[in-house]
């Protein structure tokens, strides 16, 4: 029997009261995918992310992680599933009263028995991976938006999660830093086998790192399966090509 997909979204409908953001979303994310959720502003990308990570219960449907029904398991099981996820929020969402080192160390302190010295080494390595070596003792308020975002990624990677969910990784970053972050995402997938879900509308990232994707259509409030974005830009649905070519196609 084939293994269950790493993530499966089944009949998912997201709504705020009567207002339906997206309905009948059905797609599968396989292990090792860099799965891009793309779409225009306000199409519901972040709302979908909130359903994926347990912040917003869907109006209908559910999400499966390795065959386990995330929204319908007991709270302890859901908490265990959540620990398999690493989340990078759009603005970093760093805890302002903690230094960068403390931000990254907190999940390690909470969920491992590692001694403080080893945690410090791991934190230092993860901050170096995102280009923030030496900034351990800085507070988030002392950093630029791009640095906060990178520190947010370091925190998301703290526990080496199976699945990384990344909201707008490269928006607001300079081109070189954005490229470095994209390279890091590819390397995490290749080296550690991490499954990565990227929520973005940045074309360079979509085409540069995506191996599979869905397009959330804001007109019909549902998805269009798009497969590999580099193929979709050539032979995909007209709305997707229009989006991926900035309206040229």
């Amino acid at each position: 029997m084939a293994a269950a997909p790493h993530i499966e979204i089944r009949d998912l409908t997201m709504a705020y009261g009567e207002f339906v953001i997206q309905h009948d979303l059905n797609f599968v994310v396989n292990k090792g995918d860099i799965f891009v959720v793309m779409g225009g502003n306000g199409c519901g990308k972040t709302t979908l992310m909130r359903a994926l990570i347990g912040l917003q219960r869907p109006a209908r449907g559910t999400v499966f992680y390795s065959g386990e029904d995330f929204w319908n398991v007991p709270p302890e099981q859901q908490a265990r599933l959540k620990r398999r996820l690493g989340i990078m929020f759009q603005g970093g969402a760093l805890w302002s009263s903690l230094t960068l080192a403390e931000n990254v160390a907190l999940p390690l302190k909470e969920y491992t028995d590692l001694p403080a010295r080893r945690i410090a080494g791991i934190v230092s390595f993860k901050l170096a991976l995102v280009g923030l070596a030496g900034f351990e003792e800085f507070y988030p308020a002392e950093l630029s938006g791009g640095m906060k975002k990178r520190a947010g990624l370091a925190r998301a990677m703290a526990l080496d999660p199976d699945i990384l969910v990344i909201d707008e990784p490269s928006s607001g970053l300079d081109p070189l830093t954005a490229r470095r972050l994209d390279d890091l995402i590819l390397e995490l997938r290749d080296s550690l086998g991490t499954t990565i879900v990227v929520i973005t509308h940045e074309l360079a990232s979509i085409l540069g790192i995506g191996t599979n994707s869905v397009f959330l259509d804001s007109e019909n409030h549902t998805m269009i399966n798009t497969g590999n974005p580099r193929e979709a830009v050539v032979s995909g649905d007209a709305r997707v090509r229009h989006f991926l070519t900035r309206g040229a196609a």
Partner: protein, 392 residues
């Protein structure tokens, strides 16, 4: 010479009886090379060794390090953190490292971690300051804050000047909104606290006046006490906790969101637009709340006197009227206005001084309450002395 270290965490029961532990061997090859063999599972859930253990016992003639990971079954960033520590150690001792024996992914991630070198001068020590240093720093910070407070006071004065000459730019709707927020919405809490304070005053007075058979003078004590001092003081303190903190949090959040910067870049004075309506609202509403608090306090005094100490209601009422003079009301109203201005000043000052983080908003709110109550206490003392000297 061969050194062998073995992981102490044996997860065999958890992993289908497959032994899951790390193993570290070091072997000298030739005169100057140390081969480091990492086998087994090198993951975060293992009690991995410190990097220092690798070079323990290695002689001074060591020049190079190489790796053998043929028996490495699993790794994650725990292994990478170990290797990074080892790389740093080798750099300190001037040893060169041959990474060829490491898995490709490990080499790539180590390279990525080293790709952006640490910026010089960025790293900070996290040493604790001595008590003397902390006191010194706090004192310096306080005296540095005084000119800032005076500057803000000056800005508000200029802004009031613009208001009087009809050139201040703020929306009247904001003023009405603030008036509603600080006045009518504070009535409930002012009622409760003033009632209880009036009750306390009456009990306190009754206890002492009973000794000389002058319980009727409870009315004088409560009336003059509430109207001249306590009504204004309690209202000021309530407003400092309720409204001063709110002003600081509102303006602080606007600092965080760069809304105040947006006003400045448009050439609109944030003092006119944001501070002035808040100042006006409190200067206008606190005297009214003071008056109201005084009446509620007197009512509580009357209820206690009538119900507990057998003083007639009419008798109490007549004594209250006899005791009160118009000057007492004017003193209470003046104090209310000044306290209102102090609370607004403290709230707006701390809000405008707020940093750029969520934490600093909380600090601004706390500081606004502390500063507000401190200013109220200082001005209350000064005004009491001044009114006493003037015979009012």
């Amino acid at each position: 010479m061969v050194w062998v270290f073995r992981g102490i965490l044996n997860l065999s029961l958890l992993h289908n009886n497959v032994e899951k532990k790390w193993r570290l061997d070091t072997r000298r090859i030739g005169d100057d090379l140390l081969e480091v063999s990492c086998a087994g599972r090198w993951c975060l859930d293992q009690n991995l060794p410190a990097a220092e253990i690798t070079l323990a016992g290695a002689g001074d003639d060591l020049r190079r390090l190489s790796f053998n990971t043929a028996q490495l079954s699993a790794w994650d960033t725990g292994f990478l953190a170990f290797l990074r520590g080892l790389c740093k150690l080798c750099a300190e001792r001037g040893l060169s490292i041959d990474q060829e024996g490491l898995p490709r992914g490990v080499r790539h991630l180590l390279a990525m971690a080293a790709a952006v070198p640490e910026q010089k001068g960025v790293r900070r020590g996290n040493g604790r300051q001595s008590l003397v240093s902390q006191v010194g720093a706090a004192t310096v910070a306080f005296f540095r804050g005084v000119p800032e407070m005076l500057h803000f006071l000056g800005e508000i004065t200029v802004s009031f000047g613009r208001l009087l000459s009809g050139r201040a730019r703020f929306r009247l709707s904001d003023l009405w909104w603030e008036i509603e927020e600080v006045g009518p919405r504070a009535v409930a809490i002012v009622s409760v606290i003033s009632f209880l304070v009036g009750l306390i005053l009456a009990y306190l007075g009754a206890d002492q006046l009973r000794l000389v058979g002058a319980q009727i003078f409870i009315a004088d004590l409560v009336a003059i006490g509430m109207v001249r001092e306590v009504g204004a003081l309690m209202t000021g303190i309530i407003i400092a906790g309720r409204t001063g903190a709110s002003f600081a949090a509102q303006l602080g959040t606007m600092q965080v969101n760069e809304e105040i910067d947006a006003f400045k870049t448009l050439g609109i004075s944030p003092i006119d637009f944001l501070v002035l309506p808040r100042m006006l609202a409190l200067i206008l509403m606190v005297p009214l709340l003071t008056l109201y608090a005084s009446f509620v306090g007197m009512l509580a005094g009357m209820l206690v006197s009538v119900a507990i100490f057998d003083i007639g209601m009419f008798e109490y009422y007549t004594e209250t009227l006899r005791a009160l003079e118009i000057k007492h009301f004017l003193v209470g109203l003046a104090k209310g206005s000044v306290y209102g201005a102090m609370v607004a000043y403290a709230g707006c000052l701390r809000g405008m001084q707020c940093g750029r983080s969520a934490e600093s908003v909380g600090e601004a709110a706390t500081s606004a309450v502390v500063t507000g109550i401190l200013l109220i206490t200082i001005t209350a003392s000064l005004m009491t002395i001044i009114f006493y000297r003037l015979g009012i």
